[in-house]
């Protein structure tokens, strides 16, 4: 696949090459996708049989792009007597305005051909290279090309049509075009998702109901979204760019679940994860709370609607459990995959309660907290009733769906992410440490809600007692004495899975860490083994499975670091939190403000720039949210009753930072900060906040 161009609207998106063409193979994520299904896999423009050559691509908006092309594929000389513009917008399919300009003194007659075809692949098939079971059909109906696929009652259709006269056959639209000297010719091309998972009987493309053109939902106005968010001013331009990039990408990643039309939650990432994920939607909503709290509101409502209510081994569902992932494609439809939805995550359920409480602390929206009371109670009950698989009072996971379920149900979900210091892998069920932190926090926050909103002091007391007990046991059972940190997990027999990992930072965030142990944990996080200069590694250097480009065993995740920074602040390590922010925000500059999912754990001095982990998912929601949470931690924003506390600790490279009109239960408030935390800045190829020397480990 050559350089790809992506535009999207909700979970509908187009990925093409730089000339706007789509020539997808089964394993290639190019095409028009909606609801996890490819609705167009072939889209090739030719003029007199020739492909076109890209001159430039303008990304006008996240949902709109413009391709400037010329005929011929000569690499040395291009005869630009003709130029071609394809302007494409996505929304219920896509709309393309095709314009041909004749720059010559003579008229031209051209054969313009647009080839179209579709494999209707499920995204899972694209990822795993699987074969289709149904039948394809194509027809020409009323001047439009109908591309269809049928598998029993499962039917999906794409309709292709044009506004100008053309000959339609089962593989293309062909135009006989005459253009006078210095004139232009133009047609609109409509690619409509005519039959999909939601409107199977309407028989009409969605966008034709309201407008002539495909376009994104107008409720999703980007301008309004940006206006509603706090405005940021700063003497460091890079941070302004990163902030704007984050807001725009977050806007693009908004996804409206079919149950809640007109409401938006963050989908996890483009292109593989444009759907609702329990964990990703919750973490991103938490990061974005000070900036756009409606994401949290919709996340809470939608996850509540789908909260587990029964036992279903195929979907790893239990009563009270919050879903892991929802999918809409053919394999889910035929129950070859369990994502309708799939519940195999153990952190989403306690984090649901954490988000509900944090949402109330920021917004004061007690109404939603009351409306979701039974959901929150069911989530809290799940922790004790269904998650204690080791029988020792800790949350643990072990899938019941052995075939298509997830083996690792925590955020570090790759096969080798949870290991002993010497590299051995533990058995199942596994109780990873951060889960216990989340459970503790859920109980503490659940107690607050029970006392202040649900008016159930007895329940609050019970939760507080359980939380205190959990904290006491946890600090005994997970603490690795000879290393002075928390084990990444414990096994059913009580063995401490003693690798040193970034999960320790999440423990600070949750509040489960004993005050007496916090300093040692913070020291580890900032040690040379963990802190690369860009951020904290998922697994410390020197551990058996450490690999600087191992997915969860050495890379640096901006999302992870944003929560680590929050955790450090929670325990009063302001300067350490500022250093984490400095490293990640410096890294953001190398990616034009769009942080990748992860980058290599190489030492900063060694590579001079952050080495992106080779992943196809970008933008990714919780990486997009990381700079937002880092802004919060740098400024020390904390709701306190109806007030917003501001307690800045900024890296010295930022002279001045202003975040204005922060929305919340206080109305709107401004926050100001000046950089005072020395991060040992030194001259570099470009302005950076500075290289941070890790603290020397005391051994």
């Amino acid at each position: 696949m050559s350089a790809d161009v992506k535009i999207l609207d909700g979970n509908t998106f187009v990925v093409s090459d730089e000339s706007g063409d789509i020539e997808a193979s089964l394993t290639d994520p190019t095409g028009l996708f909606s609801f996890d299904t490819r609705f167009l896999s072939r889209w090739i423009l030719t003029i007199d049989g020739q492909r076109l050559n890209p001159l430039s691509v303008d990304d006008l908006q996240y949902f709109e792009t413009r391709f400037f092309l010329v005929p011929g594929t000569g690499t040395v000389y291009i005869d630009a007597k003709l130029s071609v513009i394809r302007q494409r917008a996505v929304g219920g399919g896509f709309h393309e305005e095709l314009t041909i300009l004749n720059h010559d003194d003579k008229p031209v007659d051209l054969t313009v051909r647009v080839e179209a075809g579709c494999d209707f692949a499920d995204l899972f098939e694209v990822k795993d290279d699987l074969k289709k079971q149904g039948e394809y059909y194509t027809s020409v109906d009323n001047g439009r090309l109908v591309l269809g696929y049928r598998h029993e009652t499962y039917v999906r259709e794409t309709w292709v049509s044009a506004t100008e006269a053309c000959a339609v056959d089962e593989g293309a639209l062909t135009f006989a075009v005459h253009v006078e000297p210095h004139e232009q010719w133009s047609t609109d091309l409509h690619v409509a998702i005519a039959r999909d998972a939601t409107g199977t009987t309407s028989g009409r493309p969605k966008y034709e109901r309201k407008t002539k053109k495909a376009r994104p939902n107008m409720e999703l106005s980007l301008d309004k979204w940006l206006d509603d968010a706090p405005s940021l001013d700063c003497d460091w331009d890079s941070l302004k760019r990163t902030y704007r990039r984050s807001l725009v990408d977050l806007a693009a990643l908004r996804f409206s679940p079919p149950s809640l039309p007109g409401h938006y939650l963050p989908a996890a990432g483009l292109p593989w994860f444009m759907t609702m994920f329990g964990r990703d939607s919750i973490f991103t909503s938490l990061q974005a709370l000070p900036f756009a709290s409606e994401l949290a509101r919709t996340t809470l409502a939608a996850l509540g609607l789908w909260q587990g209510s029964r036992h279903d081994d195929f979907r790893d569902e239990d009563p009270g459990r919050i879903l892991h992932e929802m999918r809409f494609g053919e394999m889910t439809a035929f129950e070859e995959r369990p994502h309708s939805p799939y519940y195999g995550s153990v952190d989403a359920t306690p984090l649901y309660v954490v988000l509900l409480d944090e949402y109330e602390r920021w917004t004061g929206d007690a109404k939603l907290v009351r409306a979701l009371e039974t959901h929150a109670r069911a989530a809290l009950a799940w922790i004790d009733d269904y998650a204690d698989l080791q029988g020792n009072g800790y949350i643990a996971y072990q899938r019941r769906n052995e075939k298509t379920g997830l083996e690792n149900q925590c955020w570090k979900d790759s096969w080798d992410s949870i290991s002993y210091r010497d590299g051995r892998l533990p058995g199942f069920p596994r109780a990873t440490c951060e889960l216990q932190g989340y459970a503790y926090d859920a109980k503490v926050r659940g107690a607050r809600l029970a006392r202040t909103v649900w008016r159930d002091p007895a329940f609050a007391e019970r939760l507080e007692k359980e939380a205190a007990d959990l904290k006491r046991r946890f600090n005994r059972d997970f603490w690795v004495e000879d290393g002075e940190y928390y084990a990444i997990a414990v096994e059913a027999d009580g063995s401490k899975v003693d690798a040193l990992a970034s999960n320790n930072g999440h423990l600070l965030w949750s509040g489960i860490v004993d005050k007496s142990k916090a300093k040692a944990v913070a020291r580890h996080l900032m040690s040379p083994a963990m802190y690369s200069g860009w951020g904290v590694r998922t697994l410390a250097e020197g551990q058996g499975r450490y690999n600087p480009i191992g997915y969860h065993v050495g890379t640096i995740w901006p999302y992870d670091n944003s929560f680590i920074a929050w955790g450090l602040r929670r325990y009063g390590f302001k300067e350490e939190a500022a250093r984490i922010a400095a490293g990640i925000l410096d890294a953001a500059e190398f990616f034009e403000g769009r942080l990748p999912e992860a980058f290599g754990g190489y030492e900063r001095e060694l590579t001079k720039y952050p080495v992106q982990y080779p992943t196809s998912c970008s933008p990714q929601a919780w990486s997009t949210g990381a700079p937002l949470l880092l802004l919060r931690t740098m400024l020390g924003l904390e709701p306190s009753g109806d007030d917003l506390i501001v307690n800045p600790a900024l890296p010295a490279g930022i002279g001045r930072l202003e975040l204005l009109d922060i929305p919340g239960r206080w109305g709107r408030r401004d926050a100001f900060g000046r950089g005072r935390v020395d991060v040992k800045s030194r001259p570099r190829r470009r302005a950076q906040l500075g290289v941070i020397k890790p603290e020397r480990k005391k051994t």
Partner: protein
């Protein structure tokens, strides 16, 4: 002629009395197809509790499908969302109401779940 087993709907109503679907009110109609014939069932939801009858007013949402699909979904042998994606069920109207209602559909027969009896509660 195949008819929908009314007992399956009554069991659903019973589950809603034990565990109401929070804060929802409205009328859902099930259009149960058997060949050309369509049997209509009205599920009236009041404060999350469902009552079932053959007659009712204007529905807020309609779920349509054949007898076999409804029976499979209402007995836990099939998943409603998957059936919907497959086109075996068709949903119209207020989808949010149907989403809330699906939580009352039973789990898969024989599913073990993982009740662990609640450590914290055992301790207290």
């Amino acid at each position: 002629m195949a008819k929908l087993d009314k007992g399956l709907l009554e069991a659903l109503a019973e589950r809603s009395r034990e565990r109401p679907i929070t804060a929802f009110n409205g009328v859902v109609r099930f259009d149960v197809r058997d060949g050309e014939r369509v049997e209509e069932w009205y599920l009236t939801i009041a404060k999350g509790v469902v009552s079932v009858s053959r007659k009712g007013g204007e529905p807020d949402s309609v779920l349509a499908g054949d007898v076999a699909t409804f029976e499979a979904v209402l007995s836990g042998r099939a998943n409603a969302m998957a059936a919907l994606l497959r086109g075996a069920l068709d949903a119209q109207g207020r989808i949010v109401l149907l989403t809330a209602l699906q939580r009352l559909f039973p789990g898969s027969p024989g599913a073990e779940g993982s009740p662990t009896a609640g450590y914290a509660r055992r301790q207290s």
